[in-house]
Protein backbone atom coordinates (compact mmCIF):
# COMPACT_ATOMS: atom_id res chain seq x y z
CA UNK A 1 0.00 0.00 0.00
CA UNK A 2 1.37 3.38 -1.06
CA UNK A 3 -1.33 5.75 0.18
CA UNK A 4 -1.38 9.27 -1.18
CA UNK A 5 -1.53 11.98 1.45
CA UNK A 6 -2.90 15.54 1.16
CA UNK A 7 0.64 16.93 0.88
CA UNK A 8 1.37 14.97 -2.32
CA UNK A 9 3.07 17.01 -5.05
CA UNK A 10 2.95 17.02 -8.85
CA UNK A 11 5.63 14.66 -10.13
CA UNK A 12 5.16 12.10 -7.35
CA UNK A 13 5.59 8.70 -8.96
CA UNK A 14 4.51 5.26 -7.79
CA UNK A 15 5.41 1.91 -9.29
CA UNK A 16 3.43 -1.26 -8.70
CA UNK A 17 4.76 -4.79 -8.32
CA UNK A 18 6.13 -6.65 -11.34
CA UNK A 19 3.50 -9.04 -12.73
CA UNK A 20 4.27 -11.81 -15.16
CA UNK A 21 1.58 -12.76 -17.66
CA UNK A 22 2.31 -16.47 -17.59
CA UNK A 23 0.35 -18.78 -19.90
CA UNK A 24 -1.42 -20.21 -16.86
CA UNK A 25 -2.41 -16.87 -15.32
CA UNK A 26 -3.51 -15.55 -18.70
CA UNK A 27 -5.69 -18.61 -19.20
CA UNK A 28 -7.09 -18.18 -15.69
CA UNK A 29 -7.93 -14.57 -16.48
CA UNK A 30 -9.37 -14.98 -19.96
CA UNK A 31 -10.68 -18.52 -19.94
CA UNK A 32 -14.24 -17.54 -19.07
CA UNK A 33 -16.39 -19.16 -16.42
CA UNK A 34 -14.02 -21.08 -14.17
CA UNK A 35 -14.64 -24.68 -13.18
CA UNK A 36 -16.95 -25.43 -16.10
CA UNK A 37 -16.59 -28.07 -18.81
CA UNK A 38 -15.95 -25.38 -21.39
CA UNK A 39 -13.04 -23.86 -19.47
CA UNK A 40 -10.82 -22.46 -20.80
CA UNK A 41 -12.76 -20.73 -23.56
CA UNK A 42 -10.68 -20.59 -26.74
CA UNK A 43 -9.67 -17.07 -27.68
CA UNK A 44 -6.61 -15.01 -28.59
CA UNK A 45 -5.55 -14.96 -24.94
CA UNK A 46 -5.88 -18.64 -24.14
CA UNK A 47 -5.11 -20.56 -27.32
CA UNK A 48 -2.02 -20.28 -29.53
CA UNK A 49 -3.67 -21.77 -32.60
CA UNK A 50 -6.71 -19.53 -32.27
CA UNK A 51 -4.50 -16.45 -31.97
CA UNK A 52 -2.39 -17.33 -35.02
CA UNK A 53 -5.53 -17.99 -37.08
CA UNK A 54 -6.48 -14.32 -36.60
CA UNK A 55 -3.09 -13.14 -37.85
CA UNK A 56 -1.62 -12.39 -34.44
CA UNK A 57 1.91 -13.56 -33.73
CA UNK A 58 0.67 -15.65 -30.81
CA UNK A 59 -1.34 -15.58 -27.60
CA UNK A 60 -1.39 -12.29 -25.77
CA UNK A 61 -2.57 -11.08 -22.39
CA UNK A 62 -5.87 -9.23 -22.32
CA UNK A 63 -6.00 -5.45 -22.03
CA UNK A 64 -8.40 -6.09 -19.16
CA UNK A 65 -5.51 -7.76 -17.33
CA UNK A 66 -3.46 -4.56 -17.66
CA UNK A 67 -6.43 -2.65 -16.28
CA UNK A 68 -6.45 -5.04 -13.34
CA UNK A 69 -2.80 -4.21 -12.61
CA UNK A 70 -3.49 -0.48 -12.87
CA UNK A 71 -6.63 -0.72 -10.72
CA UNK A 72 -4.58 -2.47 -8.03
CA UNK A 73 -2.15 0.45 -8.07
CA UNK A 74 -4.97 3.01 -7.87
CA UNK A 75 -6.66 1.25 -4.94
CA UNK A 76 -3.28 1.02 -3.19
CA UNK A 77 -2.77 4.76 -3.71
CA UNK A 78 -6.26 6.10 -3.00
CA UNK A 79 -7.75 3.32 -0.90
CA UNK A 80 -11.07 1.64 -1.58
CA UNK A 81 -12.58 5.09 -2.10
CA UNK A 82 -11.06 5.07 -5.58
CA UNK A 83 -13.72 2.55 -6.56
CA UNK A 84 -16.36 5.25 -5.86
CA UNK A 85 -15.39 8.04 -8.20
CA UNK A 86 -12.06 7.03 -9.74
CA UNK A 87 -11.63 6.73 -13.48
CA UNK A 88 -9.29 5.62 -16.27
CA UNK A 89 -8.77 6.63 -19.87
CA UNK A 90 -6.47 4.06 -21.45
CA UNK A 91 -4.98 3.13 -24.78
CA UNK A 92 -3.58 -0.34 -25.50
CA UNK A 93 -0.57 0.26 -27.71
CA UNK A 94 1.38 -3.01 -27.71
CA UNK A 95 0.59 -6.66 -27.25
CA UNK A 96 1.71 -8.36 -24.05
CA UNK A 97 3.10 -11.77 -24.91
CA UNK A 98 3.27 -14.88 -22.80
CA UNK A 99 5.68 -14.59 -19.89
CA UNK A 100 6.13 -10.87 -20.43
CA UNK A 101 6.64 -9.05 -17.14
CA UNK A 102 4.59 -5.91 -16.70
CA UNK A 103 4.93 -3.05 -14.25
CA UNK A 104 2.17 -0.52 -13.66
CA UNK A 105 3.17 3.01 -12.77
CA UNK A 106 1.48 6.32 -12.06
CA UNK A 107 2.74 9.90 -11.89
CA UNK A 108 0.79 12.77 -10.37
CA UNK A 109 0.27 15.49 -13.01
CA UNK A 110 -2.32 17.75 -11.45
CA UNK A 111 -3.93 18.64 -8.14
CA UNK A 112 -7.03 20.68 -7.45
CA UNK A 113 -9.56 21.16 -4.71
CA UNK A 114 -12.89 19.49 -5.18
CA UNK A 115 -15.95 19.34 -2.96
CA UNK A 116 -14.93 15.88 -1.80
CA UNK A 117 -11.22 16.48 -1.20
CA UNK A 118 -8.16 16.88 -3.40
CA UNK A 119 -8.72 15.80 -6.99
CA UNK A 120 -5.60 14.13 -8.38
CA UNK A 121 -4.83 13.70 -12.07
CA UNK A 122 -2.28 11.07 -13.04
CA UNK A 123 -0.47 9.74 -16.06
CA UNK A 124 -0.54 5.95 -15.91
CA UNK A 125 1.12 3.21 -17.90
CA UNK A 126 2.10 -0.42 -17.97
CA UNK A 127 5.58 -1.22 -19.28
CA UNK A 128 7.01 -4.58 -20.24
CA UNK A 129 10.39 -6.02 -19.24
CA UNK A 130 12.03 -4.15 -22.13
CA UNK A 131 10.72 -0.81 -20.90
CA UNK A 132 8.21 -0.59 -23.76
CA UNK A 133 4.88 1.01 -22.93
CA UNK A 134 2.06 -1.49 -23.55
CA UNK A 135 -0.80 0.49 -21.99
CA UNK A 136 -0.87 4.25 -21.51
CA UNK A 137 -3.36 6.82 -20.36
CA UNK A 138 -4.63 8.93 -17.53
CA UNK A 139 -6.46 8.37 -14.27
CA UNK A 140 -8.35 10.46 -11.74
CA UNK A 141 -8.87 9.98 -8.04
CA UNK A 142 -9.78 11.90 -4.91
CA UNK A 143 -7.77 12.14 -1.71
CA UNK A 144 -10.13 12.56 1.20
CA UNK A 145 -8.61 15.53 3.00
CA UNK A 146 -10.99 15.44 5.98
Amino acid sequence: MIPLTPDVEVGFRVTGPVKTATPYLTRLFSGGWPRTEDWPAKNVHTDEEFARATGLSGRNASGAMMQGYLAELMVDMFGEGWLSGGSFSLKFVHQVGMDDSVTAEATVTGLSNSGQGIAVELDVSCKNQHGEVVTVGTAMGIIDAS
Partner: protein, 146 residues
Protein backbone atom coordinates in the same frame (compact mmCIF):
# COMPACT_ATOMS: atom_id res chain seq x y z
CA UNK B 1 -32.62 -3.12 -30.15
CA UNK B 2 -30.75 -6.31 -29.33
CA UNK B 3 -29.14 -7.79 -32.40
CA UNK B 4 -28.83 -11.41 -31.31
CA UNK B 5 -28.49 -12.87 -34.80
CA UNK B 6 -26.10 -10.34 -36.28
CA UNK B 7 -22.35 -10.95 -36.41
CA UNK B 8 -20.80 -8.84 -33.66
CA UNK B 9 -18.37 -6.94 -35.89
CA UNK B 10 -21.31 -5.79 -38.02
CA UNK B 11 -23.28 -4.13 -35.21
CA UNK B 12 -23.88 -0.43 -35.78
CA UNK B 13 -24.68 2.60 -33.62
CA UNK B 14 -27.76 1.89 -31.51
CA UNK B 15 -27.44 -1.88 -31.81
CA UNK B 16 -27.06 -3.85 -28.60
CA UNK B 17 -25.39 -7.07 -27.63
CA UNK B 18 -27.52 -9.34 -25.44
CA UNK B 19 -27.17 -8.42 -21.76
CA UNK B 20 -25.18 -10.55 -19.32
CA UNK B 21 -25.99 -11.37 -15.73
CA UNK B 22 -23.45 -13.03 -13.48
CA UNK B 23 -23.19 -13.96 -9.81
CA UNK B 24 -19.84 -13.63 -8.05
CA UNK B 25 -19.17 -16.40 -5.57
CA UNK B 26 -16.06 -16.32 -3.33
CA UNK B 27 -14.52 -19.05 -5.54
CA UNK B 28 -15.22 -17.11 -8.71
CA UNK B 29 -13.67 -14.01 -7.12
CA UNK B 30 -10.58 -15.90 -5.97
CA UNK B 31 -9.99 -17.16 -9.51
CA UNK B 32 -9.39 -13.57 -10.58
CA UNK B 33 -7.33 -12.67 -7.53
CA UNK B 34 -4.97 -15.49 -8.53
CA UNK B 35 -4.98 -14.36 -12.16
CA UNK B 36 -3.84 -10.82 -11.31
CA UNK B 37 -1.81 -11.87 -8.26
CA UNK B 38 -3.58 -9.42 -5.96
CA UNK B 39 -4.38 -11.09 -2.66
CA UNK B 40 -5.27 -8.05 -0.54
CA UNK B 41 -7.72 -9.05 2.25
CA UNK B 42 -10.21 -6.41 1.06
CA UNK B 43 -11.13 -8.90 -1.67
CA UNK B 44 -11.63 -11.91 0.58
CA UNK B 45 -12.47 -10.93 4.14
CA UNK B 46 -15.88 -10.51 5.64
CA UNK B 47 -19.35 -10.12 4.25
CA UNK B 48 -18.35 -6.89 2.52
CA UNK B 49 -15.50 -8.40 0.48
CA UNK B 50 -14.95 -6.41 -2.71
CA UNK B 51 -14.99 -7.87 -6.20
CA UNK B 52 -11.63 -7.15 -7.84
CA UNK B 53 -12.03 -4.48 -10.55
CA UNK B 54 -10.34 -6.79 -13.04
CA UNK B 55 -13.16 -9.33 -12.75
CA UNK B 56 -15.79 -6.68 -13.44
CA UNK B 57 -13.78 -5.46 -16.42
CA UNK B 58 -13.21 -8.84 -18.03
CA UNK B 59 -16.86 -9.85 -17.55
CA UNK B 60 -18.12 -6.67 -19.14
CA UNK B 61 -16.13 -7.13 -22.35
CA UNK B 62 -18.45 -7.45 -25.34
CA UNK B 63 -17.01 -10.93 -25.85
CA UNK B 64 -18.89 -12.01 -22.69
CA UNK B 65 -22.28 -11.14 -24.12
CA UNK B 66 -24.34 -14.26 -24.83
CA UNK B 67 -24.97 -12.91 -28.34
CA UNK B 68 -21.31 -12.25 -29.19
CA UNK B 69 -20.38 -14.11 -32.35
CA UNK B 70 -17.74 -13.83 -35.04
CA UNK B 71 -16.69 -15.87 -38.03
CA UNK B 72 -13.93 -18.42 -37.36
CA UNK B 73 -10.47 -16.88 -37.52
CA UNK B 74 -11.70 -13.47 -36.38
CA UNK B 75 -11.33 -11.86 -32.96
CA UNK B 76 -12.10 -8.64 -31.09
CA UNK B 77 -9.22 -6.65 -29.62
CA UNK B 78 -9.52 -3.73 -27.17
CA UNK B 79 -7.78 -0.55 -28.31
CA UNK B 80 -9.08 2.20 -25.98
CA UNK B 81 -10.97 2.30 -22.75
CA UNK B 82 -12.77 4.83 -20.57
CA UNK B 83 -13.87 3.48 -17.19
CA UNK B 84 -15.72 5.26 -14.45
CA UNK B 85 -15.91 3.55 -11.09
CA UNK B 86 -19.10 4.38 -9.19
CA UNK B 87 -19.11 1.97 -6.25
CA UNK B 88 -17.34 -1.22 -5.19
CA UNK B 89 -18.98 -4.45 -6.27
CA UNK B 90 -19.45 -6.96 -3.46
CA UNK B 91 -18.72 -10.69 -3.49
CA UNK B 92 -22.02 -12.54 -3.23
CA UNK B 93 -23.78 -10.10 -5.56
CA UNK B 94 -25.31 -10.50 -8.98
CA UNK B 95 -24.21 -8.05 -11.65
CA UNK B 96 -26.04 -7.04 -14.80
CA UNK B 97 -24.24 -5.73 -17.88
CA UNK B 98 -25.78 -4.14 -20.96
CA UNK B 99 -23.83 -3.43 -24.14
CA UNK B 100 -24.76 -0.74 -26.65
CA UNK B 101 -22.80 0.34 -29.72
CA UNK B 102 -22.36 4.13 -29.51
CA UNK B 103 -19.97 4.73 -32.42
CA UNK B 104 -18.33 2.98 -35.34
CA UNK B 105 -15.59 4.31 -37.58
CA UNK B 106 -12.77 3.22 -39.84
CA UNK B 107 -9.18 4.37 -39.59
CA UNK B 108 -6.45 3.25 -42.01
CA UNK B 109 -8.68 0.47 -43.27
CA UNK B 110 -9.35 -0.89 -39.82
CA UNK B 111 -12.87 -0.99 -38.33
CA UNK B 112 -13.51 0.35 -34.84
CA UNK B 113 -16.61 -0.19 -32.73
CA UNK B 114 -17.23 1.75 -29.51
CA UNK B 115 -19.38 -0.04 -26.95
CA UNK B 116 -20.85 1.47 -23.80
CA UNK B 117 -21.27 -1.12 -21.06
CA UNK B 118 -22.70 -0.04 -17.71
CA UNK B 119 -22.46 -2.62 -14.92
CA UNK B 120 -25.06 -2.44 -12.15
CA UNK B 121 -25.65 -4.62 -9.12
CA UNK B 122 -28.80 -6.54 -8.22
CA UNK B 123 -30.36 -3.38 -6.78
CA UNK B 124 -29.68 -1.44 -9.96
CA UNK B 125 -26.90 0.60 -8.32
CA UNK B 126 -24.20 1.65 -10.82
CA UNK B 127 -20.88 -0.10 -10.21
CA UNK B 128 -18.80 0.80 -13.27
CA UNK B 129 -19.45 2.33 -16.66
CA UNK B 130 -17.14 1.33 -19.49
CA UNK B 131 -16.81 2.86 -22.92
CA UNK B 132 -14.57 0.51 -24.81
CA UNK B 133 -13.24 0.74 -28.34
CA UNK B 134 -12.75 -2.59 -30.08
CA UNK B 135 -11.22 -3.44 -33.40
CA UNK B 136 -11.45 -6.73 -35.21
CA UNK B 137 -8.59 -8.86 -36.52
CA UNK B 138 -8.44 -11.89 -38.78
CA UNK B 139 -10.82 -12.73 -41.61
CA UNK B 140 -11.18 -9.73 -43.93
CA UNK B 141 -9.54 -7.29 -41.52
CA UNK B 142 -5.96 -5.94 -41.59
CA UNK B 143 -3.35 -7.60 -39.42
CA UNK B 144 -2.36 -5.86 -36.21
CA UNK B 145 0.62 -3.64 -36.92
CA UNK B 146 -0.14 -3.35 -40.64
Amino acid sequence: MTEENKRSDLLLVGDEFAPLEFYVTPEFSENYLHAVEDHHPRYTEGPGAIVHPALLIVFSNNTRSPSFSLDPGTAAIQTHELVEYHAPGRVGSTFHVTFRVVDTYEKRGRPYQVVEAPVVDENGAPIITRTTTYTYVGGPYPRIGS
